[in-house]
Symmetry: C2
Subunit: 401 residues, 2 copies
C-alpha cells in the first residue's frame, strides 16, 4: 500500500502512548497534562445538560453552523475582554474540537512543504505533531528563564526565508512552565510587526495563574491582526468535551471556516450548548479559583519534594501557574532510559526530547503536578529522585569521578 | 498574507451556505441532509447522559484514548456483525467526529498533490470538499440507475496512473438516492482485487432502508482489507454529537490513529460514553424503525407530489431508503439560477453542479425529504414545480418552440 509522503513525518506521540501505559491504577503518572478529575464540576455540567435537553433538545442534537453556537461565541468574546483585555467581535471567534484541532487547521491554512515554522525550544509536543503532516522545516529559538529570547527571534527572522508561522505559549509554557514578562511581549509584537509573520498565541493555561502578576495576552497588543489566539475549555472546565476556540482577524477566520467545513463540518452542537448553558447558570471564575488553589498547593508540594529528593545536578523551573515543571539534567543523562526505569517503579514522566521539533536534548523531562493527590506526589517524586541519583552515581562510577 | 497552495482549492460548500439562509423559519428547506429533529430521542439521550454523569462523570470529562471509548467500539463491532455481516475486531474500529472527519483523515493518509481519486458521477459534495485540500485530480465514473457502471471503472483503472483512492456510497447514494445491486457489488470487489486500490465505502444511510431488499456491505466481501468502511450515528441517532467511525484493516487504523492524534488528540470522551450508554439502555433498532416509517412516508409523499406538479421534462429517482432524491432537467436549464428563484419563494434545494468533482452538470438538483412535515413537503414541492415549469416555458418562448 502506498501512503502520502507526509505520513513519513508522523510518529506516535510519547504522551499519548504513555497515557495507555499509565491507565494502570498503580502507576503514579506525572506524564499527561491531565487536569485533576475530582475538580470537574460534574453535577453542574449535568444540570446544564438537562437544561439544554429540556429547553432546546432538538436544536442541540441537530447540525449547526460551522463557526459554532453563536451564544457561546458571544460569551467567549465577553470573557476575553474581561480576563485578557482582548476586545473582539463574536464573529472573530470560531469553535474547535480543542486547540489541537485549531493547530491542525492553521497548518493546513499556512504551510506548504518546506515552509519554515518558528517555535520556542522546547515547545509543546502536540503542536509539533499537529504541524508535522504539513511538512514544514522547524527552526527553534533559544529560551531562557523568561521564555523566548527576542534577540534570537529577530536574528532568525532576518536571516531565514519562507517563515510562514511562529508558534508560542507565553503563559506557563508547556513544557517549561515559564512565562514571558511584559517587556518581552512588547518586543515580540514589535518584531512581528517588522516581519509581518502570523503567530499562534496558544493560551490554554493563562487562567491558571496561582502566583505573581497577570501579563497581558499578545492578542491584546495586536492592532494588525497578526496573532491567531487559541483558547480552550479543557483546563478550566473539562477536556472530555473537546472544546476550544480560535480568535483571529476576519480573513483568517473566513479561511479557517472553509477548512473546518471540509474537515469536520462543525464542532458538536450539543457540546457548545452545554458549555454555554454552564457559563450562564454557574460562575466559572469561582470554579477556576478552586482549581488554582489545588494546583498551587500541588505545585508547591512537588517543587518542595523535588528540592528535598532530587540530586543537586537537577535544575528545574518553579512555575507561577499552569500544569508543568521542567527538569534539566546533565548532558550525560538520557531521560528516555530513565523514564523506562521509572515506569518499572510505577512512576511516569515524559522524556524531554519530544518537545524539541528537531529532536536531541535527551537530558530533560517534563513533570505534571495537576493530576495526582498529595501522597502520590511525594511518593512518585521521591521514586524519581532515586532513579536520578542512581543514574548520577552510575555515571560517576563509570567515569571514575 | 501568504496562504498554503491547497487553499486555492477550497470554496464554501453550497450546502453549508444554504443552511444559513434556510435557518429562517419561513423557508421550506429541502437543501440540507438534515434528519427529522422531532424524531431525535431527546428524553432517552438525556437519561443516558444522566446515567453516564452519575456512574462515571470524571471519566467522561477527562482525556481518553485516541481510538475512542472501547465499550462503544465493541458495540459498533457487534452491530456491524448483526446488521451488515461485517465481522471485525473492536480494534479495527476508531471513532471520528462524524464521517466527514474520517474522509479528511483518509485524504491525509493517502493523497499527494496530483494523485487520482475516483468518484461516482455525481458524488457526495462533502467528500469532494474533504479531499480538495489534498490537491488530488478527480476522475468521475459514469453512473446509471443501478449506481456506478463497473465496466467504466475497470476501463478507467486500466488506463489511469496514480489512482490512490476510490470513494463510493453503494447504499442510497448522496445525492442520487441510488443503490447498487448485489451483482455490481461483486464486480466492484473483483475490480478492487485486480487493481489493489483502497476504497472508502461511505455508509451513512444503509440502516434507513424502507423498501426493497437488503444488499450486503462491500466491507463484508473484503478478505483483502481494501475497504475503508465509514459509519455514523448522525442519521440513526443525532448529528449534533458529531460521532462516526471508521472500520478498516490494522495497518490503516494504525496510520489513521497517528493522524487523529496529531489533528485532534481524540473524539470527545463524553459523547462516546453517552452514545454507548444509550445503546445499552435502549433499543436503537426500534428507534430506527420509527425513523424509517416517517422517511418512507415523506419520501412517497414527495415523489407523489413531484409526479403531480413537476413538468414532464423532469426525471427523478425513486429511492428505497436514505434521505435524497435527485432531479435531472433538460440541459438548457440552470438549476443554480432556479435555486435563487425558489429561494425568493422561500423554498430551498441544492443545485447539482457541486456534486460533480469537476463541475459542470448545471441541470440537476438534489431534494431532501427527511426534514420537513407533510404540509410543507406538498407546498414546497408544488412551488418548485412552478419554478421548473416557468423555466421550461421561458425557454420555449425564447427558442420559439
Amino acid at each position: 500500500m502506498q501512503y502520502a509522503e507526509r505520513m513519513s513525518r508522523l510518529k506516535a506521540s510519547d504522551i499519548r502512548d504513555l497515557l495507555k501505559l499509565t491507565a494502570r491504577p498503580e502507576v503514579i503518572s506525572f506524564a499527561g497534562g491531565l487536569p485533576a478529575p475530582e475538580l470537574f464540576p460534574v453535577e453542574e455540567l449535568k444540570a446544564a445538560t438537562i437544561a439544554v435537553m429540556d429547553e432546546a433538545g432538538t436544536t442541540a442534537l441537530q447540525y449547526g453552523q460551522t463557526e459554532g453556537w453563536a451564544p457561546l461565541r458571544a460569551q467567549i468574546a465577553q470573557r476575553l475582554a474581561k480576563k485578557n483585555e482582548i476586545h473582539t467581535d463574536p464573529d472573530n471567534i470560531m469553535l474547535t474540537a480543542g486547540s489541537q484541532q485549531g493547530l491542525d487547521f492553521c497548518g493546513k491554512m499556512l504551510l506548504n512543504p518546506g515552509d519554515v515554522v518558528i517555535m520556542e525550544s522546547p515547545s509543546y509536543l502536540g503542536a509539533i505533531n499537529a504541524l508535522e503532516p504539513y511538512q514544514p522545516r522547524f527552526v527553534e529559538v533559544p529560551t531562557d528563564e523568561n521564555g523566548l529570547v527576542m534577540e534570537e527571534l529577530d536574528r532568525i527572522l532576518a536571516t531565514t526565508e519562507n517563515v510562514k508561522l511562529i508558534y508560542v505559549i507565553p503563559d506557563f509554557q508547556n513544557p517549561s512552565g515559564r512565562t514571558w514578562p511584559l517587556e518581552r511581549r512588547k518586543q515580540f509584537m514589535e518584531i512581528l510587526k517588522k516581519y509581518q509573520v502570523p503567530a499562534i498565541e496558544d493560551n490554554p493555561y493563562g487562567d491558571l495563574r496561582f502566583k505573581g502578576e497577570y501579563q497581558p495576552a499578545l492578542k491584546s497588543m495586536d492592532p494588525e491582526g497578526l496573532i491567531i489566539y487559541m483558547g480552550t475549555f479543557s483546563k478550566i472546565l473539562a477536556p472530555g468535551y473537546r472544546l476550544g476556540w480560535i480568535c483571529a482577524n476576519e480573513e483568517f477566520i473566513t479561511k479557517l471556516n472553509l477548512i473546518a467545513q471540509a474537515a469536520v463540518l462543525q464542532t458538536a452542537t450539543i457540546t457548545a450548548m452545554v458549555v454555554s448553558k454552564y457559563l450562564e447558570m454557574f460562575d466559572v471564575d469561582e470554579h477556576v479559583e478552586k482549581i488554582k488553589a489545588v494546583y498551587k498547593h500541588r505545585c508547591e508540594l512537588m517543587i518542595d519534594t523535588m528540592r528535598k529528593t532530587f540530586p543537586p545536578e537537577a535544575k528545574f523551573t518553579d512555575p507561577d501557574g499552569g500544569l508543568f515543571t521542567w527538569v534539566e539534567m546533565p548532558d550525560y543523562i538520557n531521560t528516555r532510559e530513565l523514564a523506562a526505569k521509572a515506569l518499572e517503579k510505577n512512576v511516569a514522566f515524559v522524556p524531554g526530547s519530544g518537545f524539541f521539533p528537531n529532536g536531541g536534548n535527551n537530558s530533560c523531562f517534563r513533570l505534571n503536578y495537576s493530576n495526582q493527590p498529595d501522597d502520590r506526589i511525594v511518593k512518585g517524586i521521591t521514586l524519581i529522585g532515586e532513579v536520578l541519583k542512581e543514574a548520577i552515581a552510575e555515571h560517576a562510577a563509570k567515569t571514575g569521578a
